[in-house]
Amino acid sequence: MAKLTLSQVGKTYAAGSQAAVSGVDIDIADGEFIVLVGPSGCGKSTLLRMVAGLETVTEGEIRIGDRLVNHVDPADRDIAMVFQNYALYPHMTVRGNMAYGLKNRGESRQAINDRVEQAARMLELTPYLDRKPRALSGGQRQRVAMGRAIVREPAAFLFDEPLSNLDAKLRVTMRGEIRKLQRRLGTTSLYVTHDQLEAMTLADRLVVLNGGKVEQIGAPLEVYNNPASTFVAAFIGSPAMNLLDAQVEGGTLMVEGHRLAQVARDAGPVTVGLRPEDLVLSTSGLPLRIDYVEELGAQRIIHGFIGDQPAAVADGSPDAPLSDIVHVTAARADIHLFDTTTGKRMDLPAETQIAEATA
């Protein structure tokens, strides 16, 4: 068990080509569960593979504990990795799969046996120890892959989208199991996923990546409540946050000519972010022309347009009748403002107070 430090880590595949990952700084405390999340191609897997030693590091430093591991062989980094397709050795039994790494390290037969048995008990794999991976279900294979990681007793676990080959129901169960297991073992973990829900539920801290750069690092709720940019705002949360073009005119935030709130800002265009679940149906406010409605049982998602801009509202009272046009408002604290050109978050604490005072 150890902390994990990435400083200014970057990866460029061919000289002159665009960097796949650049300038990543992450400090991971001992025992912390960090989730790297982002759309496909954002460099999250590359980053993980650099920590694993499967990709060379072209810039910056990676430290496991206090040891610089940039040029250390994967086997000597004291890490264990769980792969998306499990990568179990098909010709070996479950026991063989878990023991192989220990055998190569030259552990005694007795020690290997003890650890494998212990991991199998923990993962409820004991009855399957002498089966081949072929004879196991997807969830069981997943557990074997985890077992293979556990028996190594590494400084850090690396997970590369380990749940994306499972069906939806199993994914939820395994998600819980991974979380519980990590808590119990207290092993520092780095987990890659493109699924923001998985990221939110598992992480101690999220690292949102976009185009090879870190967009935001923070606890799940912090990222959800204070997205640092329009990218994070749109990526975290489901249904996605509504991002609308708006204007500040004389201290008033106007969307498509309708007043939304008072803000202490200079006049000019801004991007306003409104979570569907923060929007409230009311008699006045922004007019939403309804396009279609998704019924989810406990709530319904109303999709429509404010002016020409698409927007969604999560409505908690699915039985109430709807007219063609509804009006929505949001509390000032739930309104996120972003710079139109850079996409960066721009509200300041002082400003919020002023807005509340004037509203």
């Binding site: 994967p74 086997a75 192989y100 293979r148």
Partner: protein, 297 residues
């Protein structure tokens, strides 16, 4: 009661219904099998009657009493002054050639494919295609230089000379390359994290994974090696190193004119020459089909 009388006839009708499709399929297959086996049966029949009688009547349905004497002659009798080219010694030579061929080719081509697929070599693709183009240069085309090299290495009349010059195989290298390419990259990475170096990965992971592939290549190469005629004829003048395929030719050829050809004996040698390839195919059949059609991952 009513139920029973009602259902009984329908059951009968179902039991009696004949699947004519299956019958005709089997008829065709059985006819084909008989047709293919007929020459072999004729060979064995002819070996049971005296050679002189065959000269007069040709193949017949008669079963004579010469089978065991012919077997003895075929296995133990030599047809030269040296007395070293008995059926058994030729069988041994053929076996060494076939096995050496198959095993050698598998080892060499697996290593070549391993290098091409898993190591960042300069010109790996070029090397692969270079190996592949050797398919265009079969033994017959390059037999004179091949012979010269073998002779200069002093390998004439040795098993080494029989096997080594033919041991490189573009076909097997190609098959193994395709197979290795289909092995998921994550397996290599998992092995690397598990601390398996290149040699360990090859022996612990890749070879066991290739089992079915190895079996399939083994059959093909064993039969190919066993049936070699031209190369052994060129390389061996020592009669103790003659192979079966050579020996059969020798019998019918050398005894023509002066004697009645020893049909019985040569026929039995021919049967002996057929047996091992058949045995190998039967033994490895399951693996063979699996290896060439499905991937075990």
């Amino acid at each position: 009661m009513a139920d029973i009388t009602h259902t009984a006839p329908t059951e009968d009708r179902q039991a009696r219904r004949i699947n004519w499709g299956a019958v005709s399929d089997h008829a065709v297959l059985i006819a084909g099998a008989l047709f293919m086996m007929a020459p072999l049966v004729m060979l064995i029949q002819m070996s049971t009657i005296p050679d002189a009688e065959i000269m007069q009547t040709g193949p017949s349905l008669e079963i004579g009493n010469q089978f065991w004497p012919n077997v003895k002659k075929a296995l133990l009798g030599a047809m030269s002054f040296s007395g070293e080219d008995t059926g058994l010694s030729m069988f041994r030579s053929s076996m060494i050639l076939g096995l050496g061929f198959a095993v050698g080719k598998i080892v060499i081509s697996m290593l070549a494919a391993y290098a091409i697929v898993y190591f960042r070599l300069r010109f790996a693709t070029f090397a692969f295609w270079l190996i592949f183009t050797t398919l265009l240069l079969p033994l017959e085309v390059r037999i004179v230089p091949s012979y010269e090299v073998t002779q200069k290495l002093g390998l004439l009349n040795t098993y080494g000379g029989l096997i080594i010059p033919l041991i490189a195989s573009a076909t097997a290298t190609f098959f193994f390359r395709q197979f290795f390419l289909s092995v998921p990259d994550e397996l290599v990475e998992a092995a690397r994290i598990d601390g398996a170096g290149p040699v360990k990965f090859f022996i612990d992971i890749l070879v066991p994974l290739s089992q079915t592939m190895i079996a399939a290549i083994f059959i093909i190469m064993f039969v190919f090696g066993w049936n070699q005629y031209l190369w052994p004829t060129m390389i061996t003048t020592d009669e103790s190193k003659y192979t079966l395929v050579q020996g059969i030719k020798q019998i019918t050829q050398s005894l023509e004119g002066t004697h009645i050809p020893e049909f019985g004996r040569s026929n039995l040698l021919a049967v002996l020459a057929v047996l091992p390839p058949v045995a190998v195919v039967i033994f490895f059949q399951r693996w063979f089909v699996k290896g060439l059609t499905e991937s075990d991952k």
